[in-house]
């Protein structure tokens, strides 16, 4: 924000851009209640498969299923910083949905202090930037950090 650049989501419709309390946007089946992320055009519960789909905001919090990091620059279409900065990735099981969702960890997260079951919350972070804009994506951070 200090850069004065416009902050825009890197992809439309996947998450809300509330800076303090962002949420992932998924799908909910009006018939069976199944929830999906990312959004789906039709219910994928094989016992249902017929319900109307509506947009739903998903739990902001969850617990760590596992975590890792990336020490080497991935190939495109990832837009890497120059010089490349390694980043960590967590798989977090959402509290209500019991659905594991991947996300980068907020830079500076103490990965050594993480463990399976640690409480996490959703945050917004910069995925990359160009001269005019910062492109935002959802990230995970330890709750209260």
């Amino acid at each position: 924000m200090a850069s004065g650049k416009a902050r825009v989501p890197v992809i439309e419709g996947w998450f809300t851009t509330d800076e303090d309390r962002p949420q992932l946007l998924g799908s909910r089946c009006r018939s069976c209640g199944a929830r999906f992320f990312p959004k789906t055009g039709a219910c994928r519960n094989p016992e249902c498969g017929r319900g109307e789909i509506e947009e739903v905001a998903l739990s902001r919090t969850g617990r760590v299923w596992s975590f890792t990091d990336n020490r080497y620059q991935p190939p495109p279409p990832y837009v890497a910083s120059d010089p490349f900065e390694p980043y960590a990735i967590a798989a977090v099981e959402l509290a209500d949905e019991r659905m594991v969702v991947l996300g980068q960890l907020v830079p500076g997260t103490d990965v050594a202090a993480l463990g399976v079951g640690a409480e996490m919350e959703l945050a917004l972070g910069t995925l990359y930037e160009d001269d005019e804009r910062e492109y935002l994506v959802w990230k995970w951070r330890p709750t209260g950090a």
Binding site: V10, I11, W14, C32, G33, A34, R35, F36, F37, P38, R44, N45, P46, E47, W65, S66, F67, T68, D69, N70, R71, Y72, P74, P75, P76, P77, Y78, V79, A80, Y87, I89, A91, L94, D96, E97, R98, M99, V100, V101, L102, G103, Q104, V111, G115, V116, L127, V137
Partner: protein, 398 residues
């Protein structure tokens, strides 16, 4: 029908050695096909059906691999199919050929897969494709294949107390076993310390924990049991092929997905996806894991090999490290795993790999696996998993 009526014979197997040769995948595939035909004592003109396992990396010819190999071997009028199931493509191609033989539509089928790979991480197909989850996971997360392997490995450590040294011992075992395999890419026996000194790629996994990407080709010649009788007494047989998909809700994060299914409304299946892959093959073959003499599992990472021990029923969850450290899964042990050297010694040549696993079991069951022979092997299983939900397992019997 009784299980024996669903068997097909493996008349011939062949491979082009794995490496980073930088030549066309067509060359590797035709070389492997010719080797398999020679091994079967058949000519190309005897083949009635060609089943190609596709590669997405080598332009249009890769998407129509069956026809590409048929043209390279010389148009013969043989019927053809091509299929893509990511890493599981080879097993799918075998299954298509097997089904055609069992349906009585042909006697002799050739199955071929080959790949030429670039250096470094596997990357999605190029262009701007925001509808493709494989493209999006790189774009939005920077989630490479080793990212997923790292997640599984870390979870093993957290749940079962696995250590980086346990992972290193898988590499040590496989590097010893593959050292004498002429088709392997790497022949050097690696020490625990060498693994632990290699750089971290996706913690806790290091460079030597993660399989490389390779060039290579593999082929098998399959036939009906009737046709085989006059050619090869007591041939090695395929007793089952499993190509199962997951059941909803799939609660394990899989490449290239961002999320699992939700298990809030519907309970997860009793048998998770990876467990279900060989289970379906065992049921079809009428065997269980206790009947196995050896297994070839998809060791994309060292830690993943340990997961497979449990997924294929060699031991209970959390016991794989003990199995490894007791030597049970090494050559000479109770149930040798990856006697070929596995992906640790081969690196991955995607559409060829599941076929290569079957080649190895065939040589083992014939007693022709020089320098890595599992003595008296009669029953083996392969297991593998392809991106986007492709199970792959083949039961091979003497």
């Amino acid at each position: 029908m009784p299980e024996t009526d669903r068997q097909v014979a493996i008349l011939g197997v062949g491979m082009h050695p794995w490496g980073k040769w930088g030549r066309s995948f067509v060359e590797y595939g035709t070389s492997a096909a010719r080797a398999a035909l020679d091994d079967a004592g058949l000519r190309w003109s005897d083949v009635q059906f060609v089943s190609g396992a596709d590669t997405i990396r080598n332009g249009y010819p890769g998407y129509v691999a069956g026809a590409t190999f048929a043209q390279a071997l010389g148009w013969s009028g043989a019927r053809v199919s091509s299929c893509y199931s990511a890493c599981a493509s080879g097993a799918t191609a075998i299954d298509i050929a097997r089904a055609r033989i069992l349906a009585g539509l042909c006697d002799v089928a050739l199955v071929v897969g080959a790949d030429t790979t670039p250096k470094g991480f596997f990357a999605p197909v190029g262009g701007d494709r925001p509808e493709d989850p494989d493209w999006l996971r790189f774009r939005l997360l920077g989630a490479t294949n080793p990212t997923y392997f790292g997640l599984y490995a870390r979870r093993r450590m957290e749940l079962y107390g696995a250590t980086e040294r346990d992972f290193a011992r898988v590499k040590v075992k496989n590097s010893r076993q593959g050292a004498a395999n002429p088709n392997a890419r790497y022949h050097k026996a690696v020490s625990e310390d060498e693994v632990l000194a290699s750089p971290v790629v996706a913690s806790p996994l290091r460079l030597l924990d993660i399989c490389a990407t390779s060039d290579g080709g593999a082929a098998v010649v399959l036939s009906s049991m009737d046709f085989a009788r006059s050619r090869r007494p007591r041939p090695v047989k395929i007793a089952a092929v499993s190509t199962v998909t997951p059941r909803y809700p799939n609660t394990v994060i899989e490449m290239p997905n961002f999320a699992t299914d939700s298990s809030a409304g519907v309970a997860p299946p009793d048998r998770p996806f990876r467990d279900s892959i060989t289970h379906a093959a065992y049921q079809e073959a009428g065997i269980g894991p206790d009947d196995l003499d050896l297994a070839e599992v998809y060791d994309l990472s060292t830690a993943l090999e340990l997961d497979w021990y449990e997924n294929i029923g060699l031991c209970k969850a959390g016991e794989a490290e003990r199995l490894l450290n007791d030597g049970d899964t090494a050559l000479g042990g109770r149930i040798p795993v990856n006697a070929s050297g596995g992906l640790a010694c081969f690196g991955e040549a995607v559409p060829a790999q599941a076929i290569a696993q079957v080649c190895e079991l065939t040589w083992q069951l014939r007693g022709e696996a020089d320098g890595r022979q599992v003595e008296g092997a009669k029953v083996g299983v392969t297991v593998n998993q392809g991106l986007f939900g492709h199970g792959s397992s083949v039961v091979v019997m003497r």
